[in-house]
């Protein structure tokens, strides 16, 4: 198996025999998937191949119909996004998961608003605004209006916000589902740089993308899904964009 290539270190995250059925739809069928420490894994495949479903299982949004998840060698159950966060798994969703009617700080801390006071129910709005501004500055993300609803932001600005907000939480595994989909050339470059920086800092990154240039730019390893099955798992140094494209569409299509 491909995993032997990386036998020098143990995977930080391992999925074994993962299947996910939505009623009659077999979104994933018997998928094995590993992530090693400080590794950038690209997850590729055509529309509907099961990429988002796979990362949502890792992020605690879906429970697998079959299969097991191991974190640092230990079996774990990830029942909710909070479970995933507790393991140090952070995700930027393809859908962005922003609340259009709320402002930037509210979206930045969505679901884990900091609290103050002894009761622990009052939101620390000052901290929210300060931390939001600081993180966005550090990442070089420019947003025009901090206190206006997110619906007034452009598509790219929203995507930048969705990426930026997972950064301060010290995740060990960062998942990005099509993070450059709405971004221009310059902004895409920034996100790719960010992914490389995350790796330098010791994180592992799972990135989903349809852009082969981006994939070959950053990935250490490329995993290909087709029709819910894993059909390829290649070190970047041992494959070519052509081969990956063939795996994505299937040999019978050529």
């Amino acid at each position: 198996m491909e995993a032997k290539v990386f036998a020098s270190s143990q995977p930080i995250l391992s999925l074994r025999g993962i299947s996910k059925y939505f009623g009659g739809v077999h979104a994933l069928e018997d998928v094995d998937f590993d992530v090693y420490p400080q590794e950038i894994v690209a997850l590729v495949g055509d529309n509907g191949a099961g990429k988002s479903t796979l990362v949502k299982i890792i992020a605690g949004v879906h429970r697998p119909t079959k299969g097991h998840i191991f974190f640092q060698g230990q079996p774990v159950e990830i029942h909710s996004p909070h479970d995933a966060q507790a393991l140090g798994i952070e995700i930027v969703y393809q859908e962005l998961a922003l609340i259009e009617t709320r402002d930037v700080p509210a979206n930045f801390f969505l679901g884990r608003e900091p609290v103050k006071g002894r009761l622990g129910i009052f939101v620390d709005r000052r901290k929210m605004v300060e931390d939001t501004v600081r993180t966005l500055r550090e990442l070089g993300i420019e947003l025009p209006y901090l206190r206006s609803p997110v619906r007034y932001l452009s598509g790219g600005q929203r995507q930048a916000l969705a990426i930026g907000r997972v950064m301060p939480w010290g995740g060990k595994i960062i998942i990005m589902d099509e993070p450059t989909a709405a971004l221009g050339v310059k902004e895409s470059r920034r996100v790719l740089d960010l992914i490389l920086r995350l790796k330098e800092k010791g994180c592992s990154v799972i990135v989903i993308s349809h852009n082969m240039r981006h994939v070959f730019n950053v990935a250490d390893r490329i995993v290909v899904l087709r029709g819910g099955r894993k059909v390829g798992d290649k070190k970047k140094s041992e494959t070519t964009p052509d081969e990956i494209v063939k795996l994505i569409v299937g040999a019978d299509m050529l």
């Binding site: 949004v61 259009e100 009617t101 969505l110 939101v123 070089g140």
Partner: protein
């Protein structure tokens, strides 16, 4: 990089509350000029008393609507709280006990609405349409259709006392508005109510327990309808099974006029408070200016459509 904030003019234009206050102020000014009776302490306090029940129920309704739901059972709950409490009072129970039971029961109905919506995934419109009718049925059934009269003075005091000439219900209304505003704008639960109403799927993706949030919102709506209903009953001195019929629409209208979008995720209880005030002042104005009361619904309807159209236009433009 700079973080520019919108200018004052833009912020004002985007601020629904500011726009509403201007409308409210305009109405007050116009009426003060047109009639000699509007701007008297007596009339103002009567207006306050008359809309406090609706306003209080609309606070709970606002939480539900901001959370992406709707509560059609509010009017029935108002009547039911009054009937339960009135029957207990006549059976000799203490005022405090009777009130607590009345409120607990509407709170329970709200909880039931919330559980139907969050657990069995019934659309809020359907779930609360059902409870609206069921609870109204209980109102008739338990009273055999007769109003419950002869309530003790110690209970009616609630709806009829003034403190420094300000009616007690109005004071309670302001207190509850502050409570709801803090809950919605300052607490984690409030943030999650906006999140669930703004984009339920996104809220669930980030791990917010959307079912819990919705259940709490409906429970509060039940409780607030109960409080409004008790103040209404105390004021009228009678608990009629037909009371508050159709009030759910006024309650929803107050929220909508107040800029709370029926699509959820936006608005504030202050908007609902001002919305309720605008409706009541309009009614009062029609009376003072000599229009027969029969015309009131037509005027209210026009205001609802006008308010929502202005709100939509404003949001598109700025």
């Amino acid at each position: 990089m700079r973080y520019v904030e919108p200018g004052l003019v833009l912020r004002f234009a985007r601020n629904q509350l500011a726009a509403l206050l201007v409308i409210l102020g305009g109405m007050v000014l116009l009426l003060s000029l047109l009639t000699s009776t509007f701007l008297t302490a007596n009339n103002i306090f009567n207006v306050l008393r008359a809309f406090s029940w609706i306003a209080i129920a609309s606070f709970g309704q606002s939480i539900v609507i901001i959370g992406g739901g709707i509560d059609l059972s509010a009017g029935s709950n108002m009547a039911f709280a009054g009937i339960i409490t009135a029957m207990l009072l006549l059976a000799g129970y203490s005022v405090v006990f009777s009130i607590l039971v009345g409120l607990l029961i509407t709170l329970g109905i709200g909880l039931l609405n919330g559980l139907m919506v969050s657990k069995t995934k019934l659309p809020p419109f359907i779930a609360t349409l059902g409870t609206m009718s069921i609870v109204r049925g209980f109102c008739y059934g338990m009273t055999q259709g007769w109003p419950v009269r002869n309530l003790p003075r110690s209970f009616m005091f609630l709806g009829q006392t003034d403190i420094w000439r300000v009616p007690l219900p109005a004071i309670i209304m302001i207190g509850l508005a502050v409570f709801c505003a803090i809950l919605l704008e300052k607490t984690k639960l409030g943030y999650h109510v906006y999140a669930v109403g703004g984009n339920e799927y996104a809220a669930s993706l980030v791990g917010i327990n959307t079912g819990r949030v919705k259940t709490i919102a409906f429970t509060l709506s039940g409780l607030f309808a109960g409080i409004g209903g008790l103040l209404m009953t105390a004021r009228l001195g009678v608990a009629a099974p037909t009371a508050a019929q159709g009030y759910e629409l006024d309650i929803i209208a107050a929220a909508v006029i107040g800029g709370i979008s029926l699509t959820g995720g936006e608005g504030s209880v202050w908007g609902a408070l001002i919305g309720a005030a605008i409706m009541q002042i309009l009614r009062n104005a029609l009376v003072l200016m000599g229009f027969p009361a029969y015309w009131q619904p037509a005027a209210i309807g026009a205001v609802i459509i006008g308010a929502v159209m202005i709100d939509m236009y404003r949001k598109r433009k700025v």
